[in-house]
Structure formats: C-alpha cells, structure tokens
Amino acid sequence: MAGLSRRPVARQALAVVPAATLVGGALLSALPLPLGAGALPNLPLLLLIAWAAVVPRLLPPWVLVPVGLVQDAVAGLPLGVMALVLPVVRLAIAAGEDRMTMRGFPEGWAAAAALVMLGAAVEALALLLAGRALAPASLLLQAALTILLYPAVLGFVAGLIRRLTDG
C-alpha cells in the first residue's frame, strides 16, 4: 500500500472529490447572505457541468441521486427535485459527449448554458409534478447567474484536479 505512487491515490480521490464538491456547493447555497429577493447560482448543477467538461465520465447518474437529495433537503425543496435534475443533466452530457470532443472554451460555455437551461426546465417540471407553485422569473434569474459563473467554477475545478493529480 505504501509503495503506491501518487496516481492511484488521485484516482481514488477523483471518485470522491467531485461528489464532495457538489455537496459543498449545496451547503454553500444555504449560508446566510443578505439577498432577500435575489437568487444564488445553482452551484451543484454548475459543478457537475464543470467536472464533466474537465474530466468526462466522472459522477455517474446514480451517485447524483443522493447528492441531489442532500441539495433538496438543504434548500427546502420537495425531495426529488434536484435528485431528478442532476441525473438528467448528467445523461444529457453523456449523450452529447461524443459529439462535443475537442471543443474550445466558448463552445464549452455555450454547451454549459444549454445544460443549465435544461436543468432549469427539468426543475420547473419536477416542481409542478410535486405540486408546487413556480416562480419562472426567479428560476430564469438563477439560471442566468449560474451561466455567468461558469468560467470561475471551471477554473476552480481545473485547479482542484491539478492539485489532486500533481500531489
């Protein structure tokens, strides 16, 4: 065990760290900020997209169900909303992955925007299914903020991966 190089350790870390950052993002959204009517970006969704952009095939859909449940519980949503949104977005990423190889940053951002909008649409459907009222304006505001934050979160994820793999 002690003789292992750093790479396998990084491999194991890569199995845990992405999910942990998503949970951390959900908790971060629960922190008190003096924003009475504003919206915070959907950090777990954005982190999922950023992870998939940097290292494809991390975070399989079934890992995202417990992560989504944690986000639902922390945010006070009906249980199952983000547990549906995150896996659906992950499946959409998997479906588009083969076509989107060798893409540059602007294309990546555009793809992320499309995925965030997909997430917002699924969230709206899930809320309707759970019998909750919708606030389309704030959902769109949140989606816009999420899209704007993409470069920063992408940088965070890339930096994290560099630290994990370089040791």
């Binding site: 922190l31 924003l35 922390v74 249980l79 547990a83 896996p87 909750r132």
Partner: protein
Amino acid sequence: MNDRAPLGGRIGTPRRTSFARRDVNLALFGALVSGVVVAFAILLLVLARVDPEQGRRVRGAVLDIISPLVAVAAAPVKAARAVIDRVGEHLTTVERNRALEAEIRAARAAAARAAALEAEVARLEALLKLRRPERRLVAAGVASASAATGSVRAATLSVGARDGVAPRMPVIAPQGLAGRVTDVGLTASRMMLLTDPNSRVPVKVERLGWTGIAQGTGGPELLFQHDPQPGGDTLAVGDRLVTSGDGGLFPPDVPVAVITDTAASPPRARPFVRAAALGPVMVEAPWLPPADPVPVPPAPDEADLGAPSPPATGPAPAATATPAATATPAGARR
C-alpha cells in the same frame, strides 16, 4: 462505471466475449441504471405531491445539522450589516429627525382618538360577551439565512420541535408578518417567507376593509389578489395590508405589506419584513385552535321567538330561528 471498462477487460474476460459485446452490455446496463435512477426521482416527486408531510422529517433533520454552521457563518455577515446600517444612520440623522418629529405630532393625535375608540370597543365587546381568541407565543428565536434558490424563499429559525414549534405556525417579526413554519427539526426549523411562490396570506386593506390574498411571486413583491369592489373607493399607493384572520392561521391585524403599484393588475405590494434583514422573530400558535367536538345536546328552541310549528319534522338543529324562517317550512331550510 463506464471508465472501468478497460480495467475489467484486462481481468479475466471469458474467451468468447468481445470488446464490442462488452461495450453493448455496458451501454445496456448503463441505460437500465439511468432509467431506474430517473424513475426513482420521479417516484419521490409523486410521493411529495401525494403526501407533502413526507419530506418534512428528513429536511428537519438536515436543518439540525446545518443550523450551527449557518449560525457561525451568519455572525460576520450580521456584524458587517450592523456597521453599514450605523454609518447610514449617521448620514441621514437630521432629515430623519425632522420627519420623525412631524410624524410623532400626527401620531399623538391619532393615538388619542384610538384610545377613546379602544375603550368604546372594550365596552361594546363586554356587552356582547364576545370571546376573542388570544395570540399565544410558542417560542422566540432568531431567523437567518435566506436560502435564495430559484424556487424557494425560506429562512432558518433557531428554534425547533424542542421549543414546541410545529409546521404551519405563523412567524411574526417586529415589523410585521414574516411567514410560516414549514419544516421542523429538533433545534432548528425552516420558515416559508411571504415572497415564496407558494405563500398565500389572507389579508385586508386596513383603510378600506377589502379582503384578499397576498400571494408570493418569488420576487421582492407580493400580488394583492382581490375581487373587484363596488363603490367609489379605490386602492392607493401606500395603503397597508394587514392579516384578516381568515382561515384561522394568522392572527388578524398583523402588518403584512404596503401597496406600491395600483396600476398593475393585480396590484403589487412590498412586504414590511425584509427577508434580507430578518432578526428576532416570534413563533405563535395558529390563531384559532382547531375545534375539538364534544357531545353536547343541540340547543332547544327559544320560547319567545315565533311559533315553533309543532308538526315540523324533527327538532331543527339550527335553533337560531330568524323571523324570516318562520314563514318557510322548517324542512326546506336543511
């Protein structure tokens, strides 16, 4: 799962299984698992629709875990806000002082009139033997943490089931109504703010007496939903909305919002309680306790109110016979 494919390929693959078939199998397996995952989430959502109580315990338990974290993180935010508020106060002291003095002169006159009216109301209520339900404080705590997601407007309360807090209870801040309790943990709970898109509060216009519903939109403003009113009165900007007490949950006459836009349909109102600056709040019991039926024989007919009409079918349980009722057959009223 998929990224392990080459690894699995290295460990003893049976002779006949080609990589192509492996890929197909893996893809099938992946699709199956994805379908199960999505179906599971949808099932949870349907359960949440059928029984909204179902998620409360889970969310309450999570609240107990994260509320200390929230309290720690809230401290610097609160301190910074206090400093900003203080600086702002110093900058506007003179104007505010003048405005307040004018306001106090007007308020003194109003208070004198109100005191006289109050005494009159108390005297009339005593004559009527009116029983007014009392507001009962359950717990006092601190609200913080506006969880500003796209679809939920909520705050965390520092009191929970151990303090007697239960879902549905109204939450009242010094400035007015703040919202209602939704999820309850042992030591913390979550409240739905007035601006949540699911929030509906029965209100009335203090000046006109019109009743309606203050509906949250998810944005900073509320919609005042009301039926068109006959007569010459019109709603004006600055009219105060207070709780009407309808529905029995919120106590009446608690300030809710002030009308800001009458041109829009429905009119817009801004809540008195700013979600960004919640502080100490009171959790009260639902204003009207649910009726607890006890077996009591129906009231007998009043001897002095008209003829009881002996051939009438059965003892009419609606014993409040109005003069008009004597003209109609007793059976037709049921």
